[in-house]
Each structure stands twice: as structure tokens, then as C-alpha cells.
Symmetry: C2
């Protein structure tokens, strides 16, 4: 059994816990938190919650530690720190800081003789992987990534900060016409506005100026100004009944040409439709946690991304079984 | 530059040649044939065609040899024989014989200190890879593979063997309703007939009994009897004008559930839409040829499939560049 530790028990930590329960060769060994452990109740029967402090003493009880903190301030500190003690997996997604994060984690993991997988999930993660494969197969082509339909936490939070807004759920939605033009292999040049629309469901405070709120949303720079945005005001009951999930997904598409006269067009599409963003992300992380443990058992060390890990490591089947059943 | 040799200059050999021309770090070094080399004219300027015999003397001129023969009788002999001299890639697709083929090729490649990639292309190949990734991410789920719309060479050949048939092109077509039910995450149980239909365009000999030909097609065991099949009789001119390409493609879909009460459904879909089956297969092979050379330079040897090869090996970019641009 692969003994999994989870550090951080928010949406992602819970998603990893649900994923571990689906993998017969894994068991959740412990959950770690910076909060009061007594206040954290986990789903898996019999699993103890510890304060972060306990991590320095549990190296023999855990094969791989999943770091479920945020990319802004948690992971840049936590991943190098714990890669010095454990095999680790994180979902670091601040793109511009990946080189620095990779270097810090790589040094710590190599020094400790551990494997650390960073930037794991679906974007970055499975989407990155599909961009890489498709680019290598079709060097003469064009990449497109669409996100949604799904909830963007960052955009929902931005709306919540507007005066008079009690709650918001923001959906990012790919524009059908753009998707179809891409799938037709036409390699269109698409503006931000042409690729996605944004839809906001807003619960306003009683007596708030709805026209002002709507105007502040649709004109908000960076978040909404470059998009066609629709705003719906709803009640708290409607919010709870219809918008409590965290669905997401999207499409990575590469179209390219082959032939001595570029006469043949090919379309490679990878599409995800996810009821729960954190549970799917957690499921990807669980598979790479297995890979981290297996690679480390073989003597490999250092920082890895999805690009560096042979697919067979993700599976609990042997090479013979994989070739017989999945090739 | 990676120096590529192609052995066998049929549709696939030509597809590999077209793919090599799209990769800036590759050059076509030579083409080998069992036919009279004088009778083979290649597309790439300045490239010489040799008889197979020459392969025993060209080890210093070629970094990786692409074997473009058939799976029935060519590759079981050729791949082990040439893995004893070269890094090689083949597209062996006789599923039941993969374990035996892998063992033979692995022994030869290890003995010679070479890397041999077998069963490379899109199915087996990219479809297998997507089945593997999706199975590891969603252990509690169901796999579906659809093929088409595309030309099946085997089915076209089977119809051509019927008395009175001069030519045939057979298209395999996924059933839209089945695809939609799968995409909706319903995990339907689908019969052969419910998944695909078959459509035949037939040129008959003058005076042939069309009703008999149609009946022989639709009732042919293994090939057509289990499918709903449509037969169209067309002229030779129509065949040439409308059915001279070799399009293909298909969908690998896995749907699965997560959550402690299986409350969330996820759909992972990989879809290929290909104008030219052999040129796309050749493009996948070219990327894995690069991987074979790079892995061998690092000291790796033996038989590999797409499962065993870390994605980064397919690219001519460095780890830093991949993380910066594609992660």
C-alpha cells in the first residue's frame, strides 16, 4: 500500500482524499493542517488530523506527501521544505514562477534523495501534456486552449469584493463558433473576446444599486473588460440550489498540416468535462503520487513535471499487463 | 541532425518521409526497399534508394531506422533483425502477438545496445496512451473507443475480393447517438452494431449482379454481418474524384466517477480528425524516432512502447524551454 499524507484540507485536499479512496493500492495515512487539528473533520474513517508541526516526525509513516496549499504564498515555501523530507506532489500554477520553483524544489529533493512532482493537475498538468504531445506530432500547426464551461474562483472572488455584493459564482464559457472554427482546422486568429464569454450569478445586498454593480463587473479591467459578460441577479436560495458545485473543464486543440504541399490537415483535441474541479485535480495528483513513489524506489531523485514521467509509472499494472490490456 | 532511414516505401513509408520533412532537427538519410531500387522514386531531393541488402553496411550513416512493413509477416522478422543493428521504430499492430514481438525485439535491442520502439502510431499509440492516462486518473470508470469516420483498408480489401467488384472504399463511421450517450457520462453498454456503421463505395464490373454483390457484402461474417452497412455503386471516375484520400480518426473516451458517494462524473475525451492516416501515423513515428535516439544516447537500451517513454523525449526543446512554453 502507498501511504499518502495530505497537507492542507481545503477543496483540493478533500479532492485528493476522495481520489485516494478510489485507488486500491493507496491508503490515506494522515492529514496535516495549520489550523487547530481538532476543528478539522475528514471523510476517511480512522484517519487522524495532525498539526503541521507533526510532519517533522512522520517520515517513516508516509510514502508521499500531497501539498494542497495555494500557489501565491504556501507552495513556494512548503514544497522545497517538505521535498527535503518526503516524496511530494504539488499543483503549483503560477506560470511565471515555475522556473524558480522548479530550481528550489529540485535542489531540496536531490539533496534529500526524494522525488518531487510539481505543477500537477489538469492545467497545468494534463492540458500541458496534451500540448506537448500534439506539438511534437504536428510541428507545423497552431495551439488553442479553451476553458469551461466552469467556475473561475478568481473571477468569483473579484466580484465578491464589489460593494453591495454578498456572493457570486462566475462561469467561463468557450464561444461555440470559435471552437467550431478551430476544429475545422482553419487556424483562426482569435481575440480574447472571441474565445470566451463570462457569466456571473450575483446575490446582492438588500437595497444595493444593481445597475452600478453590473457596470462595475462588466468594466472591471483584466477580469471582465475584454470579455462579453452577462450578469444575473439571483437569491441566496437560488445560489445554493443551482450553483454550489465547482464544475470545470475545457479543450486543448492543435491543428496542423502534413504533406509536401501541406495538403493534409489534422485535428488533435483533448477535452475535459468535469463535475468537480478539485476532485478531478486530486485524481490526477493521486496517479502522479504513485509515480513519485515508484520512481523514487528505483533510485530516481529531484524535481519532475508531467513531461518527465513515463506514463507507465502512473499505473499499478505491470508492463506486461499494460501491453496486454491497454496498448 | 537526426539521420532517419526508412525501410519500406508504401503509404506509411511515404507518410514518414513527409513527417521527417516537417522536423527541423531531422534529415532523411536513405530509403530501403525489397523491390528494385531503380523503380522507387522518393519525394525528398537528393535521397538515395537502396536495396534492403545495403542495411548491413550503413550502421554509421543512420541514427534510427523506421520499419514501414506490414504486421502480418514483415515486422515480426524485420524488427528483431534490425534492432540488432539500429535504433528502430515500428507500428506493429497485431494485438494478440504484441507480448511475443516485444520479447523478441527486447532481446535483440538489449544485446545490441539499441532502443526499439514498437506499436507506435495512433492506434496502437496515441489512443493507447490516452487510455492509460485516463484509466490511471479515473480508476472507477469505463473506456470507449470509436473509430472513424475513416477508410478501413482491411474492409475495403475484403470487398474487393468479391466476384464482380473492381474497386471499393469502405468507411467506418461512429454512431452519433452512441457517442453522445458516452459523452453524457451514462456509461452505456453498447453492442457492435450500436457503436459503428459501415459505408461501402463500390465500383462493379460491367454487367455484374449488383444485388448479389450487395448481399455478399452486408452478410460477410466478421467484417460486416454485425453492422448496419450501406452499399453505394459508383463509377471509377467518382471513386477517383471523391474517394482517393485515406482519412481516419476516432475518439477515446473514459467516463468515471469520484466522490465518497460517486456524486461527480467526469468525461475525458481524446479525438483525432485526420485527413491522411499514413501521414499522421508517420508524424507520431517521427516524434518517437527522436525519443529513441535521445534515450539511446543516454545509455538506455531495449524494447519500449509509448507507455515507457517520458513525454519530454519526444521534443527537441530542453526541459527549461518545455516548462517555460508548454507547462
Amino acid at each position: 500500500m502507498i501511504r499518502i499524507g495530505i497537507f492542507g484540507y481545503g477543496n483540493l485536499g478533500k479532492g485528493v482524499e476522495a481520489a485516494v479512496a478510489k485507488n486500491k493500492d493507496m491508503e490515506l495515512a494522515a492529514v496535516f493542517t495549520r489550523r487547530d487539528p481538532e476543528a478539522v473533520k475528514v471523510m476517511t474513517p480512522g484517519v487522524k488530523v495532525y498539526h503541521e508541526e507533526a510532519l517533522k516526525d512522520m517520515k517513516d509513516a508516509i510514502d508521499v506527501l500531497i501539498l494542497c496549499g495555494g500557489s501565491a504564498t504556501d507552495l513556494p515555501v512548503q514544497t522545497p521544505a517538505y521535498a527535503a523530507m518526503y516524496n511530494v506532489v504539488d499543483s503549483f500554477d503560477t506560470h511565471a514562477r515555475i522556473p524558480e520553483h522548479f530550481a528550489n524544489v529540485d535542489a531540496a529533493a536531490k539533496e534529500a534523495g526524494k522525488v518531487a512532482v510539481i505543477s500537477c493537475g489538469w492545467d497545468p498538468g494534463m492540458f500541458s501534456l496534451n500540448r506537448l504531445y500534439a506539438n511534437c506530432i504536428l510541428p507545423d500547426g497552431q495551439d488553442y486552449t479553451f476553458w469551461g464551461k466552469g467556475v473561475s474562483q478568481g473571477h468569483s472572488d473579484a466580484v465578491r469584493r464589489i460593494e453591495g455584493v454578498k456572493d457570486c459564482r462566475q462561469y467561463t464559457i468557450p464561444v461555440d463558433e470559435a471552437l467550431e472554427a478551430v476544429r475545422a482546422g482553419k487556424q483562426p486568429e482569435l481575440t480574447t473576446r472571441e474565445k470566451h464569454t463570462r457569466e456571473c450569478f450575483v446575490v446582492a445586498e438588500e437595497g444595493a444599486d444593481l445597475a452600478r454593480i453590473e457596470s462595475e463587473i462588466v468594466n472591471m479591467p483584466n477580469y471582465f473588460a475584454d470579455y462579453n459578460t452577462t450578469v444575473h441577479f439571483i437569491t441566496e436560495e437560488e445560489m445554493k440550489a443551482n450553483h454550489s458545485g465547482l464544475p470545470h473543464g475545457g479543450n486543448v486543440i492543435r491543428t496542423g498540416v502534413t504533406g509536401f504541399h501541406n495538403e493534409n490537415t489534422h485535428v488533435i483535441e483533448y477535452k475535459l468535462t468535469l463535475d468537480s474541479n478539485p476532485e478531478f485535480t486530486g485524481s490526477v495528483i493521486a496517479a502522479y503520487a504513485r509515480a513519485a513513489v515508484r520512481m523514487n524506489k528505483e533510485g530516481q531523485t529531484g524535481c519532475k513535471t508531467v513531461f518527465d514521467i513515463a506514463p507507465a509509472y502512473l499505473s499499478d499494472l505491470s508492463g506486461e499487463e499494460l501491453r496486454a490490456h491497454l496498448l
